[in-house]
Amino acid sequence: MDRGAKRWLLAAALAVAVVSLFAGQFNRYYLGVTIDIGINIIMAVSLNLINGHTGQFSLGHAGFMAVGGYTAAKLSLLFGAQIPPGAAPIFFAVILLAGGLVAALSGLAVGVPSLRLKGDYLAIVTLGFGEIIRVIFQTTESLGGATGLTGLERYTNLAWAFVLAALTVYVVSCLVNSTYGRGFIAVHDDEVAASAMGINPTKYKVVAFVIGAFFAGIAGGLYAHHKLVLKPDGFDFMRSIEFVVMVILGGMGKTAGVILAAVILTVLPEFLRGFADYRMIIYSLLIIILMMARPQGLFAGWKTGRKQAAPTS
């Protein structure tokens, strides 16, 4: 990851761009699911920065997604009609960024007071935040109330979803694999020891929270312009849990595992549509079994990082 990370990002973006040229020939359904995968990768990898690398248990990631999604959707409904077709990609980039920034801001607003809390307490506060956000959107008539926002333009395509997913992976990996970013893991491991090493735990937690929320906001904008309908119940507590399951399944703090888990947990429900009602039961059982059998995550053993050198003595 250290060497040539930028080149990898460029290569991934290029590959996605080429593939998406032929996207018109794909089956629409599979194309839709593939875009879902990209969006969920963004969600899971950004949540992994908070829950995995920094060790702060957040249960409100869908809330940040909603903030970004509604911001982008509202902007696109307000100004989308005046935009000439040629400028659409620029317009979309701008509203996605706006969604990300508003979500980051809400991440800051929630993070600063609540990151003094630990473990269960933080989980409860973030859970509450997610629910509050959902109820606000549900009751605000100018944002469509319970019916939500409809009539959105289909801006999101394969390229948008995966280029931004690649960017998320790049940002999180680069951040953690740097002298600065090692502080996130230090805070995760031992806050007391971290502060004794001159690391400010509060600052690191807030930074992780804001960056995580930013990407969740961007994912929200992509989601809105992929589904074309934005409903408040799409961002309920269960949605947040889905992302948490991806992070746990992939192995806290293991980016490659989390990506894989995001892919599996997006595709699997599609195959099991007949059992959709039981999905949450399956998820719960999955977590319980996982915690008992492999608490380090399903894919955590497949570490792709540096090999462990044998002591040469």
């Binding site: 680069c174 002298t179 600065y180 001159g198």
Partner: protein, 261 residues
């Protein structure tokens, strides 16, 4: 013995008192450490040694009195700010970062004096790479000095106990302190390990030219290396002096061995 002028005092604890509810854990403590000095703080269990430690490192704030480091007050600073001022510490029960390798434990501490932040980490330009190389070299040098470089990529918690202690000291040194606080480093060690530790502490003080404050329960370790020793009992300083003076001090003997009938 603490006749050093204010200028010479690197760490200056003056009339420090801390109360937890009705309990006075440390009472009117006067205590100083000079530049480059190796000082011991001893006392029986529950004497308030670790509380003094926590006062200096900002975990607790004194109820009364003041603590100065390098002629500046440490009042109301958070632990990470105190480390940035040049006070590093180790922990009684080793607290390494378990998910980081030996090498990364040291690198995580080196970041304190590095200016690069998020933008550099993401852009990965020339100056970022340059600094990462410097950090790597610095960490490796430190590990080599203490003979830990062969464990470079091992998980920190897989090291033998003595080496974990050593790594904790290396990690503390990586923050470039002027004063190193060691909290009962001999806890859980056998006599051979204690002897090794004693020479290690002496080595650290001389090689890095820093002051060391050793909080220790074990008399042998402290008597062997400290230039000056302060003795705490029930939160009150009962004696201060050279190891020889302390060894003969009747109050110290009484605190450690109990009152003669």
């Amino acid at each position: 013995m603490s006749t050093a002028s204010a200028k010479e005092r690197l760490l200056d604890v003056s009339r420090c008192t801390i109360r937890f509810g009705g309990l006075t854990a440390v009472s009117e403590l006067d205590f100083a450490v000079k530049e480059g000095e190796l000082v011991g703080l001893i006392g029986p269990n529950g004497a308030g040694k670790t509380t003094v430690f926590n006062l200096i490192t900002g975990v607790y704030q004194p109820t009364e009195g003041a603590i100065q480091f390098n002629s500046r007050s440490l009042g109301n600073l958070k632990p990470h700010q105190i480390t940035a001022r040049g006070v590093a510490r180790t922990f009684q029960n080793i607290r390494l970062f378990p998910s980081l390798s030996v090498f990364d434990n040291v690198r995580a501490a080196i970041q304190l004096h590095r200016r690069h932040g998020i933008v550099h980490a993401l852009w990965r330009g020339g100056s970022f790479k340059q600094e990462e190389r410097e950090v790597e070299a610095e960490a490796l040098d430190l590990l080599k000095i203490f003979g830990l470089d062969r464990f470079r990529d091992e998980a920190s918690k897989s090291l033998p106990y003595g080496d974990q202690r050593r790594l904790e000291i290396v990690r503390a040194l990586a923050t470039k302190p002027r004063l190193l606080l060691l909290d009962e480093p001999a806890a859980g060690m056998n006599p051979t390990e204690k002897a090794e530790l004693t020479s290690l502490i002496k080595f650290v003080q001389e090689r890095f030219r820093i002051a060391v404050l050793l909080v220790e329960h074990d008399m042998q370790v402290v008597m062997g290396i400290c230039q000056r020793i302060a003795v705490l009992d029930y939160g009150v300083k009962i004696a201060e002096g050279t190891p020889d003076e302390i060894r003969r001090n009747p109050k110290v003997i009484e605190a450690y061995l109990g009152e003669p009938d």
